[in-house]
């Protein structure tokens, strides 16, 4: 069991779809974080579009909450229908409390086995006793009483979300909350919320998918084409109105073959362009990503990874698209793959992805994942990132123009339509420096060299990885798995362990020299990732000189790594 470095409280709300679990979760997040605490909320649902089982999982603490903990302290069950399907996702133990409506009957076997205390409040019956009463408000009122949250914080959060124009709805919520709180007065309290630690600076509430959209627009993206796919759709839905406000456009494409080609067209016209998708969509885009490489057209493709292959588990996370992102293109097609490290980092990494695509005139694949993308967190406002100049364009100064001139950096100036004298044809065919199709060996090799040179010689700076701490144990990891790693390491450090974390933001091109410097002298190296075949470990082995004593730790989704699981691995041969 991991010892938390700050006292956190974990709550899960469960019920069948339509019971209001997700809305109640959002209200609870708003109510608790409104008082100065930090929080995280993830959603888990069954495969049904509407209805079916649902769980809102929340964790609160006085410091930013990176990930879920090892167990939940309180489970609030609106009902127990199909809850056993979430058994693996809701770890609890005897210290926990199950708060349920007695009308819901016995908790499922897996919960009884935990030994958690069971307390009853007749949510539905009480809701009927107050005009406009709702089960969710009664339940939140009872929960508030047990975790030390003032009832008015919940009413205030409801008021904020429904707006002042609906005083009767707010009053009804208040009656429900108070009824629930009164009914819980005789129940022994559960674990309590910690006191907030006052801190300067602004806090934000956002999801990883929203953060990607914001970063993309800050990076200059003004054209997006996309096709709906779980769990990436929210990026498109957030960006559509945001682009309208900032002078951009979003097109809903007929499929992913269209989305990738639409953004290639938009970018050819000079407008930084992006699409967002998940594994199945990325598979469809792969041929045209090769076109973007060959024609040197900058585009950003965000892949919010889910469990695969094929349709897999569309609503749950995995880091199993690394191979296709790095190796999926046919031919020799150097491009860039980056991955954000947390929700706040989604802003800067998306912005960086746009900068890299524009600067290098190449596709950049950004591997986010469902665990970040669809999670909502209250975080400190991310620092503003600045990445300097972008695309090198051609202005006619009287010289003759060669679109694919062989430059030292490998980057050649791109003429934008409308500039007289710059006319060229962007082509997926092997071409010469002018862009004219060619099947000659010299042209083929020159252009392959040029495209490799620009990717490999670029200075990616300090953004390539987040390096944290010093020690003879080095953990190399990436993406959302770095979050429980950070929490487990913080706890281990509090016990005196000396551990360094190298969390890669730049997946490809590999940075063998930089990584070698970070693992030099390490007594042991652990590599953490969430997929079934050790894709990240094998990728690093292929490109980097790793020490002999490397321990790869990999397993598939959909269950997230928890800090305790990381800690167990750290303890082995420590």
């Amino acid at each position: 069991m991991t010892r938390q470095t700050s006292p956190t409280l974990s709550v899960v709300l469960t019920g069948s779809g339509g019971a209001g679990v997700m809305t109640a979760g959002q209200t609870l997040l708003d109510a608790v974080t409104g008082g100065g605490l930090y929080g995280l909320m993830t959603r888990s649902t069954g495969p049904q579009i509407r209805g079916g089982e649902a769980a809102a999982m929340l964790r609160f603490g006085p410091e930013p909450v990176l990930c879920h903990g090892d167990k939940f302290d309180v489970l609030v069950a609106f009902d127990f229908e199909n809850l056993q399907r979430f058994a693996a996702e809701i770890p609890m133990d005897a210290s926990g409390l199950i708060l349920a409506d007695p009308a819901a009957g016995e908790p499922p076997e897996f919960l009884l086995k935990t030994g958690a205390r069971i307390a009853h409040v007749p949510f539905a019956k009480l809701a009927k006793t107050v005009p406009g009463g709702r089960v969710s408000m009664v339940a939140l009122g009872a929960l508030a009483k047990l975790i030390g949250l003032p009832e008015e914080a919940i009413v205030g959060a409801v008021a904020k979300s429904v707006g002042k124009k609906k005083p009767e709805a707010i009053a009804a919520s208040e009656r429900g909350v108070l009824a629930g709180a009164a009914a819980a007065a005789d129940i022994a309290p559960a674990a309590r919320l910690a006191a907030p630690r006052p801190k300067p600076g602004a806090r934000w509430s956002l999801t990883g998918n929203e953060a990607v959209g914001l970063g993309a627009i800050k990076g200059g993206v003004r054209f997006v084409a996309g096709y709906p796919i779980t769990p990436a759709t929210e990026i498109l839905e957030w960006m559509a109105p945001a682009l309208q406000k900032t002078g951009g456009v979003l097109l809903q494409a007929e499929d992913e073959l269209a989305s990738i080609n639409m953004i290639i067209g938009g970018s050819f016209g000079g407008v930084p362009s992006l699409t967002a998708t998940s594994g199945p969509g990325l598979s469809l885009m792969i041929e045209s990503l090769g076109l973007a490489v060959a024609s040197e057209t900058p585009v950003v493709v965000v892949d919010v990874m889910r469990s695969g292959p094929s349709t897999g588990i569309a609503t749950k996370s995995e880091q199993s698209d690394l191979n296709i992102a790095v190796y999926g293109l046919h031919g020799d097609a150097p491009h860039v793959v980056v991955a954000p490290l947390d929700i706040g980092d989604c802003v800067a990494t998306a912005q960086w992805a746009v900068h890299l695509a524009e600067s290098l005139q190449t596709p950049v694949i950004m591997l986010s994942d469902q665990a970040m993308g669809q999670a909502r967190a209250v975080i400190d406002k991310p620092a503003d990132a600045h990445f300097g100049a972008g695309r090198l364009t051609w202005a006619n100064a009287g010289e003759s123009y060669a679109r694919y001139a062989l430059t030292e950096s490998g980057v050649s100036a791109m003429a934008l339509p409308g500039v007289a004298g710059g006319q060229y044809t962007a082509d997926g065919l092997t071409h010469n420096v002018k862009g004219t199709p060619s099947s000659q060996a010299r042209d083929h090799i020159d252009q392959l060299d040029k495209r490799r040179r620009k990717i490999e010689s670029f200075d990616y700076g300090a953004h390539w990885a987040e390096i944290d701490g010093e020690g003879d144990t080095v953990i190399v990891t990436w993406g959302s798995v770095s979050l429980p790693v950070r929490e487990a390491v913080a706890a281990a450090r509090a016990d005196g362990a000396r551990i360094k974390i190298v969390a890669l933001r730049l997946i490809s091109p590999a940075q063998p020299d930089k990584l070698a410097a970070e693992v030099a002298g390490a007594r042991r190296v652990l590599i953490f990732e969430q997929n079934h075949s050790g894709q990240f470990w094998r990728y690093l082995r292929a490109h980097c000189d790793l020490p002999a004593h490397v321990t790869p730790i990999y397993r598939s989704g959909p269950l997230p790594f928890r800090p305790g699981e990381i800690r167990d691995h750290l303890m082995k041969d420590a």
Binding site: L214, F223, G269, V271, T425, D427
Partner: protein, 279 residues
């Protein structure tokens, strides 16, 4: 077409010709289409740098490199989508899409439906030779069912795709047909298609002299101007297209659907988007 006529410059067909020599076979209809394109652009007096020619893969799709305009020669079947993105991002450009019957109606068929429906201001020229020429003679969606080939011995037995009917049903705003051998007529149809707002579809019958010489040398005698005047009534257009012999030329339908327009551009600073996240 969005560019104002350039009154300062005088344009000749040769201004739209690049230095690249076409790969097409001698006598291929596509040579004539290229000449008609050059004539049409000169007549429209569009500056070459304000035109983009976008294509996919196939014989006809080689055309962008032969025009002295901006061009994009993409992957097989996706020309309409590159063009859609370009036109939406750069509404100031005149975007012309070139394709063939395999590229446009087979691998790119779905995009054809949605481009008609979306009605972005594009001109879509399909050089239809009823064959896959670049891969040396396989049946395409418009090939006759009994045409005997190595890959389909005895013929495909499939009824041919009717691109004009599909275009009409899918919402294309302008539908026309021409014959590549009629240079002036094809140039006139290109001019009309570019001038008409929204998605304009022009089928150009463009013979493949290498793999279909048997049937297509007769096309010259089979084409004829449409017997009835153009219509803006989709019902009338549907009847005439359903019953035509495939060799009617001219404007067959001219609709009034407003073209797709992106929302009015606002210019909020991106940092102002951050307000919604602040607690």
């Amino acid at each position: 077409m969005n560019m104002p006529l350039d009154v300062e410059r005088v344009f000749k067909p040769a201004d739209y010709k690049s230095a690249v020599k076409p790969v097409w076979c001698p006598g291929c209809g596509d040579h004539s289409v290229l000449l008609s394109f050059q004539r049409a652009m000169a007549e429209l007096a569009l500056a070459p740098e304000n035109i983009a020619v976008v294509s996919g893969i196939g014989c006809s799709s080689r055309i962008p490199a032969y025009a002295n305009c901006y061009g994009f020669h993409g992957v097989h079947g996706r020309s309409l989508t590159i063009a859609a993105g370009l036109k939406v991002a750069r509404p100031d450009l005149t975007v012309i899409v070139a394709s063939g019957d395999g590229d446009g109606f087979s691998i790119g068929g779905n995009h054809f439906l949605h481009a008609c429906r979306r009605n972005i201001d594009l001109t879509y020229i399909v050089m239809d030779n009823r064959i896959y020429g670049m891969t040396k003679g396989q049946p395409s969606p418009t090939t006759e069912p009994d045409w005997d080939t190595a890959i389909a011995p005895g013929g495909t037995g499939l009824s041919p795709f009717h691109p004009l009917v599909v275009a009409l049903a899918s919402g294309a705003n302008f539908i026309a047909r021409s014959f590549s051998g009629d240079l002036a007529g094809t140039a006139r149809m290109i001019v009309e298609a570019v001038r008409h707002p929204g998605f304009s579809f022009l089928q150009i019958l463009s013979p493949c002299v290498t793999f279909r010489p048997d049937q297509q040398k007769g096309w010259k005698d089979m084409v004829h101007p449409a017997m009835v005047p153009e219509t803006d009534d989709p019902g009338r257009a549907a009847r005439r297209l359903m019953t035509d012999d495939g060799f009617n030329t001219g404007v067959l339908y001219r609709g009034h659907r407003p073209p797709y327009q992106p929302h009015a551009l606002a210019h909020l600073d991106p940092s102002e988007l951050e307000a919604e996240f602040a607690l």
